[in-house]
């Protein structure tokens, strides 16, 4: 794959088609993106952010990619937003048409289009910059809208579209796991719990009308099974009426990669989630340890699907676990987790989800030595796994993730002195797995549910 922006490539040649003319199609799609009626979902923050950046550079001061890259111009958040903004000014504003040089309006060329398509996938949309912007301009929403425009002309990372949302709709999960294989996996996990913990836990599957339908990121069953087993142990210990679901019931994967790049794909997956929950007649859809799935189902869904069409509650598993520990419904002994533990705030759960206290209360109850990363909470540094980056490998992209976001997280982690990093998001887990290997850190990562399960007093 030839270079089109920096040393990396997330878009395959089949998707980007770097040598074909696409400018006209892009401009048409962009025109549509600026229409209220065609693109109402984020029209207000999108147009305000295109129009009103004061170019003060405050965003750059907190941008993990920019800072970790040694302040490379191309990774400046305004440089990235300006790639789209210059096109916006040139083709869609009067001052840009009349005085292009004065306001920085520029023609779009095929090469600029290539570079923009790649650069919008160097930002995880962690929105740390939007949090500190004096005018609350959102470079994240600009990157996401640009991704939507590109998707509208069929340019999107394979991991998110072909092997992501589209696979999920087809198979019920983005891992492509069929129902029988899923059931075998559950059986294996039950045996694994018995072997390692010495007690039996029954994991209910496809139970209709249950109080709680727990939906994990399906990748967790393959990559982070400890989290899945931990959650099952907690559910079992709490003695609640719960179930997992297999793809035979519809969608059994909490992820929704549409959050990262397309409202159309996002809505398709979301509707499939809702249909599955309705079909199963459950009362509460419990989102497993997955940041963007929580954002999608807890917040983004609210104005997309009318309340009458979603007759169930949505909760994060962290909310329930926190509640049950506080109520004494499950008993935990922190001495069972004696090592120093720290917590990384997933952007989607924290800045975008407001869930700061629940994981902290849980960890303080379950671990003897809990310590904070600095900075944390709303100023938490994105790990670099967000926006689906954790599953993007080709074009040497892992190196990009490690040398930018990963570098900062490794430094933070070392400074904390913790030997366990607790994580509540699958993308974060995927990214930290790599960070720990890449930087050879004497640390292991663990899911929150796994740490609770370790501390359970049965």
């Amino acid at each position: 794959m030839r270079k089109v922006f920096d040393d990396y490539r997330v878009l395959s040649d089949e998707s980007l088609k770097p040598d074909e003319p696409r400018v006209e199609k892009f401009l048409q799609a962009m025109k549509k993106s600026l229409q209220k009626k065609d693109n109402w979902t984020f029209w207000l923050p999108y147009t305000l952010s295109l129009d009103t950046c004061m170019k003060c550079g405050t965003c750059a001061e907190v941008c993990p990619v920019y800072l970790a890259s040694g302040k490379k111009d191309i990774y400046h958040p305004v440089y990235r937003s300006d790639m789209l903004r210059k096109v916006y000014k040139r083709y869609f504003t009067l001052p840009g048409r009349l005085f292009p040089a004065l306001v920085g309006a520029e023609d779009l060329t095929e090469e600029k289009l290539n570079a923009m398509a790649e650069n919008i996938y160097r930002c995880t949309i962690c929105r740390r910059c939007a949090y500190v912007c004096p005018v609350a301009i959102d470079n994240g929403v600009i990157a996401r809208e640009a991704r939507k425009i590109f998707d509208a002309i069929d340019i999107a990372p394979d991991e998110l579209k072909k092997n992501g949302t589209q696979k999920q709709i087809k198979f019920g999960n983005a891992t492509g796991t069929p129902a029988n294989a899923f059931l075998d996996m559950i059986e294996f996990l039950e045996e694994e719990i018995e072997d390692t913990k010495g007690y039996k836990v029954k994991i209910p599957v496809d139970k209709e009308g249950a109080e709680y339908l727990l939906m994990h990121n399906a990748g967790d069953y393959l990559a982070f099974a400890e989290t899945v087993m931990g959650a099952a142990e907690v559910m079992d210990a709490a003695g609640v009426d719960w179930t997992l679901n297999s793809p035979a019931t519809g969608v059994n994967d909490a992820v929704n990669y549409g959050v990262f790049y397309s409202d159309v794909e996002f809505t398709n997956v979301l509707k499939a989630h809702v249909e599955t929950a309705k079909k199963m007649g459950i009362k509460t859809l419990v989102v497993g340890e997955c940041g963007h799935a929580y954002e999608a189902l807890k917040y983004l869904m609210l104005r997309l699907i009318p309340p009458a069409e979603r007759p169930f509650e949505v909760k994060s598993i962290l909310e329930l676990e926190d509640e049950w520990i506080r109520e004494g419904r499950i008993k935990v002994n922190p001495e069972k987790n004696p090592e120093p533990v720290t917590y990384h705030d997933s952007c989607k759960l924290g800045r975008l989800g407001g869930m700061y206290e629940e994981p902290r209360r849980i960890l303080k109850a379950c671990c003897q030595d809990f310590r904070e990363l600095t900075p944390n909470r709303e100023m938490s540094i994105c790990c670099g796994g967000g926006s689906g980056f954790a599953i993007m490998e080709k074009g040497d992209f892992r190196k990009f993730r490690m040398e930018t976001y990963g570098k900062l997280k490794a430094e933070q982690l070392k400074a904390s002195g913790a030997s366990i990093i607790a994580l509540a998001c699958s993308n974060c887990k995927g990214q930290f797995r790599e960070i720990i290997n890449y930087y050879r850190l004497p640390v292991r990562f663990a899911g929150i549910s796994e740490l609770i399960a370790n501390a359970l007093v049965r």
């Binding site: 979902t41 305000l48 009103t52 004061m54 939007a130 500190v132 959102d138 917040y299 983004l300 700061y356």
Partner: protein, 220 residues
């Protein structure tokens, strides 16, 4: 009296005020009519109107975001903004007839001049800022600087009798006899008013939407 003088003193003010009011009004209504976006709040955020007002005033009067995260331009920016606030109060005090107005005017003019000059130089000297700056950024700061300097040198800010002219405008009987050295300031001043709605300097109005409708949102 030359035609351009007559235009500057008696016609441009009404034109500028009309464009300012209509332009800003149009923008505000345009955004008020925006469809309600999907939830896109950033946590934590102030929930009650009291908390929101508190946060807004803190930001307006201390530029806290810059202080916390972009300290090197905080002071020049704060100086310029305080200068603008004082010049606005200069005008209000003149209308009301408080002699204190001249102190506000002179101080405000000095602060605007100093702040805009420092910000202009920061943009020019700091490579990170220079790279993201378009010519219009320099133009806006130069405009503010010239305006303040013209007011200071021309003597408008320290002249309480300038009130007569303001009142004459308000009563729709514009006073035509003004010292010549006020004209350049007036020309710039009214052109500036006319220019505001077309620029990002209208960000004081935009902030309502970016904060209240997006960053702080409205949870149901």
């Amino acid at each position: 009296m030359a035609l351009w003088e007559l235009f500057t003193i008696a016609i441009l003010p009404y034109l500028a005020i009309a464009v300012l009011v209509l332009g800003l009004g149009y923008k505000i209504i345009y955004w008020l009519k925006a469809p309600v976006n999907l939830h896109w709040e950033l946590f934590p955020y102030p929930r009650t109107s009291g908390e929101q007002a508190g946060e807004l005033l803190t930001e307006v009067f201390t530029l806290r975001s810059l202080y916390m995260h972009n300290r090197r331009i905080w002071l020049p920016s704060l100086v310029m903004h305080y200068g603008i606030y004082l010049v606005v109060f200069w005008l209000l005090f003149l209308v009301v007839g408080l002699p204190l107005a001249v102190y506000l005017g002179v101080t405000g003019g000095c602060l605007v001049a100093a702040g805009s000059l420092l910000l202009f130089l920061s943009r020019l000297i700091n490579p990170e800022l220079r790279r993201i700056s378009e010519p219009v950024e320099y133009l806006n700061l130069a405009f503010l600087f010239l305006l303040a300097v013209a007011g200071l040198i021309g003597g408008v800010f320290r002249d309480f009798s300038f009130r007569t002219y303001i009142i004459s405008l308000l009563t729709l009987k514009p006073h035509l006899s003004l010292p010549d050295n006020y004209l350049f300031f007036l020309l710039l001043f009214w052109l500036f008013m006319l220019y505001i709605p077309f620029t990002r300097m209208a960000h004081f109005a935009v902030k309502y939407f970016t904060y209240h409708k997006v960053k702080w949102g409205e949870m149901e």
